[in-house]
């Protein structure tokens, strides 16, 4: 694999990557949560997380990454889809049509006045599917060295 040969001793890249990934990941989660009222959302957040993880794959070797990300991206797609469909079905159990979304404002300790929506778990599902799919596709092509 090509990346393996390039990266192993790239101190500069690795040092920057550590900081960059942290910032990008944080920002991507902000985007996911802010989506309802500001630019952002599951798609964008997911793509940003995917790019953060891609930097990681470019900078570090597989062994380390396996340790840092101990889960399978294909499972992530499944979990995401289940979450999105599940939000839709949950409202059905209460007698509303499939995918009816609800929102309300709550006063939570520490956080104060917060708007909670059923769209958030749905968006989280979108987020997981986007991250899972993007990385599954890219990693599968990357690992294919036949």
């Amino acid at each position: 694999m090509k990346q393996k040969q390039i990266k192993s001793n790239d101190v500069m890249l690795q040092t920057f990557a550590r900081i960059l990934i942290l910032i990008i990941l944080t920002f991507s989660i902000y985007l996911l949560l802010a989506g309802h009222n500001n630019p952002g959302g599951g798609f964008i957040g997911g793509l940003m997380t995917a790019s953060a993880l891609l930097i990681m794959y470019l900078a570090f070797d597989m062994k380390m990454i396996k340790k840092a990300i101990p889960f399978n991206f294909i499972t992530m797609i499944g979990v995401g889809l289940l979450l999105a469909v599940g939000t839709g079905i949950a409202t059905m159990l209460l007698g509303y049509p499939f995918l009816t979304q609800f929102f309300d404002y709550f006063h939570l300790p520490i956080l104060g006045e917060v708007e909670l929506t059923t769209a958030l778990p749905f968006d989280l599902g979108v987020y997981l599917v986007v991250v899972g799919s993007a990385l599954t596709i890219i990693l599968t092509i990357a690992e294919d060295d036949k």
């Binding site: 798609f43 995917a50 790019s51 797609i77 979304q101 986007v130 799919s133 599954t136």
Partner: protein, 805 residues
């Protein structure tokens, strides 16, 4: 959900847990768990007989898709109760029989019983539903379950052939039927059969009457194996025998009969319905009985005999529909056909069920069903021989069995037809009893062949594969014995059925014929005096015996040598043509070159849109209301156009990636300019991820080759590219102008106004994604997930040794 609904779907629920029973209770045959359900259902439905025999109906409703008028309405009247009793009653016996027929060690019983329960539930749904769409759904499930059961031994080529054939033919019919149902909806505005019958004037007066009728009949005829669609039934005999006894003689093939009976009240009384149903039925009767005498396989004989008996019932329903023309109340001249149809339906289920089971026993014990190898089994298998004798005598129409009674009624109905004097019957009517009589002669003949070839003559152990032939275990004999006893019981005391099952079913087939409170007069008896029917039976016996005794002579003829129906050539030829055609289309369409796909798609869009623009003259430009173009937009546009145009001239891949990246980023820039931060952000991220993806993919690809320059082809490509762009531009400009002219409000206004109010979000892009158009998003991520899995399958599961592309 009422008790009745739970009863209808209970087989599906049991089917879910059956695999676990099979896995964890290996020592107990899975069939025992299954058998409880039809037994309980049978007793439950028996308890409803007093309701229907007093002329009441049971209606239970659960909304399903109320906005489209589709409700899961269940409806029990005499007709549906008769069918559910057949389904659950025969179902119980068949499961009991299968427990001894299928080994719990060797067979995949979990599959078998799941399919069987699926079928049972679907069949209950077909006969109990009042809603046409619900009927259609269950109808197709029976087709699927039937195919799965036919291909139960899927390693045999013949099984899969038969399964595929039955699937093609019955699903073709099912789709036609759906068309017919839709037309009924167009005419009446409802899918409910009861409401359609109540508004039957809307149907009879409509121009769509005939198309709807033909489409519905196609469904019924394919399912009930009517000529010329009967060819799937003999091939369906590859299924295990319990399945043949259950689906392909007693229940599923009668679904078409059910539908015709149910819709008699809608279509009956017209000459078209009368003639189509009657002629198809009689042709099937004749064709089936003549084909049956040249079969050598016990189950094939029974298959063609089933075809012919189904034709008999069908023709009776056709003749009986004339009752609606006369509408004279309980006039036996017209209603006796319906009486005969219902009575024969019950009788056929009993004797044919027992015959299939004995054929299965013979197959099970001797290892063959070929009548040329069998013989002399009377002394070896006395019980089986006795049951077969009863069943065959009943089928042949001999007294005192129930088949005799219904066959006499059949003759009566066909003779009555000549007195109708409508629908040109005064000239052609005489053909009907003659065809019925000739077909009965052949029926008698194949019954003789089947009995004497199997049970009498010389026993030929050297022809059989098994060492020691003996009588079947008692458990296997219980079901055929019960059915055989019913044959005798209904033969001797037919009137126990008269007002419990037959009359309510007749009243359900012919609603509106009787005044409220009246009942049909059902009195079935053996002796009518020296009437034409009796002499017809004498003729059948004499000529049938003659055919059998001269068998040596005609068995040398080409007619006897061939077994396969000539219509199979049509099917096989059509099938081969379908495959070739599909391959041809695929070869043209799927070249494996991305460029070709783009050419197809783009040319198609150019042609369709170009034609629409030309045809409706919709080009319009309104330049009055445009905002001025800022200088930086010129710069952005020039970069944009320049980078797009330069892509085809770049000869290395990295360059192409970079330039397409530029295109993407310029698009993002445009989003920024037009104040769409979400889109801009998404576009940027997509570009970033795509660049990585391209780099990885191109790492595996060979260097770009310089293609030989073909001026004409390049011009063609240029034409397509420019044409596509031009058309899209024209469409969007015209759409914008026309939207303004027509005064359509922009859809975004709705979202802007309601995003906060209805969905609690300020970001309308996101609110649209997760709330207003949440279903779209859900399906999009599904597609995304599928795409990812497709990439994994394409790359990881690549066939070993195949070349890398």
């Amino acid at each position: 959900m009422t008790l009745l609904h739970w009863a209808t779907i209970s087989p599906f629920l049991l089917a879910i847990v059956i695999p676990f029973f099979f896995k964890y209770f290996k020592r107990i045959h899975t069939g025992w768990f299954v058998m409880i359900l039809p037994l309980v259902l049978f007793i439950y439905f028996l308890s409803l007989i007093p309701v229907t025999s007093s002329g009441e109906v049971i209606v239970r409703s659960v909304p399903w898709v109320p906005s489209l008028g589709i409700n899961f309405d269940l409806y029990i009247d005499g007709l549906s109760l008769l069918f559910v009793l057949l389904i659950t009653g025969i179902g119980t016996l068949v499961v009991l029989y299968s427990i001894y027929y299928l080994s719990k060690v060797k067979e995949k019983l979990n599959n078998f019983y799941v399919y069987l329960l699926m079928f049972m539930g679907a069949m209950l749904g077909v006969v109990l539903s009042d809603n046409l769409i619900v009927i259609y759904v269950f109808w197709e499930v029976t087709s699927i379950a039937s195919s799965l059961l036919i291909s139960y031994w899927f390693h045999r080529e013949k099984s899969t052939y038969g399964a595929q054939k039955s699937m093609f033919i019955t699903v073709f019919g099912g789709l036609s039927m759906l068309g017919g149902f839709s037309l009924l909806y167009v005419m009446t505005g409802t899918f409910s059969i009861r409401e359609i019958i109540a508004n039957v004037d809307l149907v009879t007066g409509s121009a769509l009457f005939l198309p709807a009728m033909i489409l519905v009949l196609l469904g019924a005829f394919t399912k009930s194996a009517q000529f010329p669609f009967h060819i799937w039934l003999p091939d369906a005999m590859e299924a295990p025998t319990p399945v043949s006894a259950y689906l392909h003689s007693a229940t599923m093939v009668k679904a078409g009969i059910y539908l015709v009976a149910r819709l008699t009240a809608v279509f009956g009384g017209s000459a078209e319905w009368f003639w189509i149903v009657t002629i198809t039925g009689l042709t099937t009767l004749m064709w089936g009985s003549v084909s049956a005498i040249r079969q050598k396989d016990l189950k094939s004989i029974l298959a063609f005999s089933t075809v012919s008996q189904l034709g008999l019932i069908m023709s009776l329903l056709g003749v009986g529909s004339a009752a609606y023309y006369f509408n004279e109340g309980d006039n036996a001249l017209y209603t006796v056909a319906i009486l005969a149809a219902v009575f024969h339906l019950i009788n056929h289920a009993t004797f044919k069920g027992s015959l299939f089971m004995t054929a299965g026993i013979i197959d099970h014990e001797t290892g063959t069903r070929d009548i040329r190898k069998l013989g002399g089994l009377m002394t070896i298998m006395p019980v089986t021989a006795t049951i077969s004798l009863i069943g065959l005598a009943s089928m042949a129409g001999l007294p005192p069995f129930n088949g005799f009674l219904s066959k006499e009624l059949f003759f009566t109905a066909m003779l009555n037809v000549t007195e109708y004097g409508i629908f040109n019957l005064e000239t052609f009517g005489v053909i009907l009893p003659i065809v019925a009589w000739i077909a009965s002669i052949f029926t008698f003949a194949y019954c003789l062949i089947m009995f004497f070839k199997t049970f009498t003559g010389k026993f030929k152990p050297e022809e059989l594969d098994v060492d020691h032939v003996h009588e079947a275990p008692f458990g296997m004999l219980i079901s055929p014995i019960i059915l055989g006893l019913l044959v005798v019981l209904f033969g001797l005391f037919p009137n126990i059925l008269a007002y419990t099952l037959i009359e309510p079913a007749m009243a359900a087939i012919l609603p509106g014929i009787l005044e409220p409170g009246q009942v049909f007069d059902v009195y079935i008896h053996h002796w009518h005096g020296f009437v034409p029917e009796l002499f017809m039976t004498f003729g059948v016996v004499i000529l049938g015996t003659l055919i059998f005794t001269t068998m040596k002579k005609w068995s040398q003829s080409g007619f006897y040598q061939g077994e396969r129906d000539i219509f199979n050539h049509v099917y096989d030829g059509g099938y081969a043509g379908l495959i070739n055609g599909a391959q041809g289309v695929t070869r043209v369409q799927m070249t494996g070159r991305l460029r070709d796909y783009f050419i197809y798609m783009c040319s198609f869009i150019i042609i369709i849109l170009g034609y629409t623009i030309y045809r409706y003259d919709v080009l319009s430009f309104d330049t009055s209301n445009l905002s001025p173009i800022d200088p930086y937009m010129w710069v952005i546009s020039i970069i944009f156009i320049g980078s797009v145009v330069s892509v085809p001239f770049i000869n290395n891949r990295i360059g192409v990636i970079i330039v397409t990246g530029v295109v993407g980023f310029v698009v993002a820039l445009m989003f920024v300019v037009f104040r769409a931060p979400d889109l801009a952000l998404t576009q940027l991220l997509v570009e970033t991820v795509t660049v990585v993806l391209f780099m990885l993919a191109f790492y595996h690809l060979p260097k770009l080759k310089k293609e030989p320059v073909n001026i004409r082809f390049n011009l063609f490509k240029l034409f397509i590219a420019v044409g596509f762009g031009a058309i899209m531009t024209l469409v969007s400009i015209s759409a914008f102008t026309m939207g303004g002219e027509a005064g359509f409000a922009s859809i975004s206004d709705y979202f802007t106004e309601n995003a906060k109010e209805l969905a609690g979000g300020y970001n309308i892009v996101n609110v649209i994604l997760v709330d207003f158009r949440g279903l779209d998003t859900m399906l999009e991520i599904l597609v995304l997930g599928i795409a990812a899995l497709a990439v994994v399958t394409l790359i990881k599961l690549r066939l070993k040794g195949s070349e890398d592309v």
